[in-house]
Symmetry: C2
DNA sequence: CAAGCACTAGACAATAGTGTCCATTGGTGC
DNA sequence: GCACCAATGGACACTATTGTCTAGTGCTTG
């Protein structure tokens, strides 16, 4: 009943005493912690005991909110579909003045963790590829994403086959970047952006586009 | 002592009776089966009990060949480093008449499963990214690969920064392609190759290059 | 203030997996 | 044909994890 008012123990807070006062744990608390573990430690580490320990409650409380472990995973998958996939689709549909700006929009959606959780994206991918039933949901999300990138290119005059090739390069590249969990200074990545756009679209990007993107990226500070 | 002469039960052979006669199981048998499970079912499913069951021997035999489960995983990782990484490096170093041909060489190395096991590549990646000690070995392999692709571009006259960008696009793209486990008819992929090369290098590939690659790909039939 | 309800603790049973120990087998070399 | 030794089987102890059941506890609402 009592809603959480304080953050519970996260991965940076190994000390005990996770709850303050009489506040109870909510379904959201379970989900948040589960997502965190999924992202940083993988599905294999997503254990009910571990969750309840970190939450400071008994293990059996879990079963009040979720039917079982699979139920929890399904919830995380649904969340992923709704947030991560929709973010890409939305950002690809955004109006832009030229293809370079549009490509920047595509990159833009990976920058803000509040919009797109790249850790979650890959964690879900790793886990769902093994399960046949989940696998198809994931594949559906992927083709929806790819479709929206292709549409983006077509809107800027690329013929269907070229748009298809470009979209694939861009999308697969982004995925590969995720797979590697590349961690490098923002300057380095930004330095490459202009070169990438020039080589990729054949058109030299307006300098303002780069500075704008640069500024935006630094305000949130994550990708691409 | 007695060497295996017949294939043991693989994933397509669910029936019992895996061994014929008195033949004993070798260390290679354990490794082969383990690799198969790692690739198709993930690390989580790589259990000693499961292996021994499928091999038709007792679980404790495992401990004759490997100190423990981690020892087995380490062996698989070493194998991955030696085979998969070396393949990429070798194929990137291959002489080619132009950059299009060189890029085709890069693709070529992913085609033959005997040379490069893309399933293994990604399975290892999925698993090793969680473990700090393994993670660094994997990162080392990745930069070695990326370095060899960059060198390839530099050999064809690209200035260092451009070579860097191109190499990243190419390598990340290939990784992303793996991540998706794209399964589509060879014709489709081949149809895209010319378009990709033209868009990517800016030079129209010689038609013979495409037909050659096409022919090579169909003889082994897998990627890219 | 009392009853109801949302939520939780703790005990319980069941399962699956790991690693160790020791006795045993069956080929090989002498 | 005997002794050795690589290789295996089977029993044992241990731990981790899941899921169920029941008896609470303490807000909240009438």
């Amino acid at each position: 009943m009592t809603k959480r008012t304080t953050p519970i123990l996260n991965r940076n807070d190994p000390e005990k005493e996770p709850l303050v006062g009489n506040v109870k744990v909510t379904r959201e608390d379970w989900l948040n912690l589960a997502r965190d573990i999924l992202v940083h430690e993988g599905v294999a580490e997503l254990k009910i005991m571990s969750l309840s320990d970190r939450l400071g409650v008994s293990r059996s409380s879990f079963y009040w909110y979720f039917r079982n472990r699979v139920d929890l995973l399904a919830a995380l998958l649904t969340e992923w579909e709704a947030r991560n996939t929709r973010t890409i689709v939305n950002y690809c549909a955004l109006p832009a003045e030229d293809i370079n700006a549009a490509v920047c929009n595509f990159f833009r959606c990976f920058i803000d963790p509040a919009l797109f959780d790249r850790g979650l994206d890959f964690a879900v991918r790793e886990w769902a590829r093994r399960d046949v039933s989940l696998r198809s949901r994931m594949d559906a999300a992927d083709s929806e994403r790819l479709r929206s990138v292709t549409d983006m290119f077509e809107r800027y005059g690329y013929p269907a086959d070229e748009a298809d090739v470009r979209a694939r390069i861009l999308y697969f590249m982004q995925l590969g970047y995720h797979a590697l969990e590349v961690r490098e200074p923002m300057e380095l990545r930004m330095g490459r952006l202009a070169g990438f756009l020039k080589g990729f679209t054949g058109q030299v990007p307006r300098p303002e586009l780069i500075t704008e993107f640069n500024a935006f990226a630094h305000t949130v500070g994550n990708e691409p």
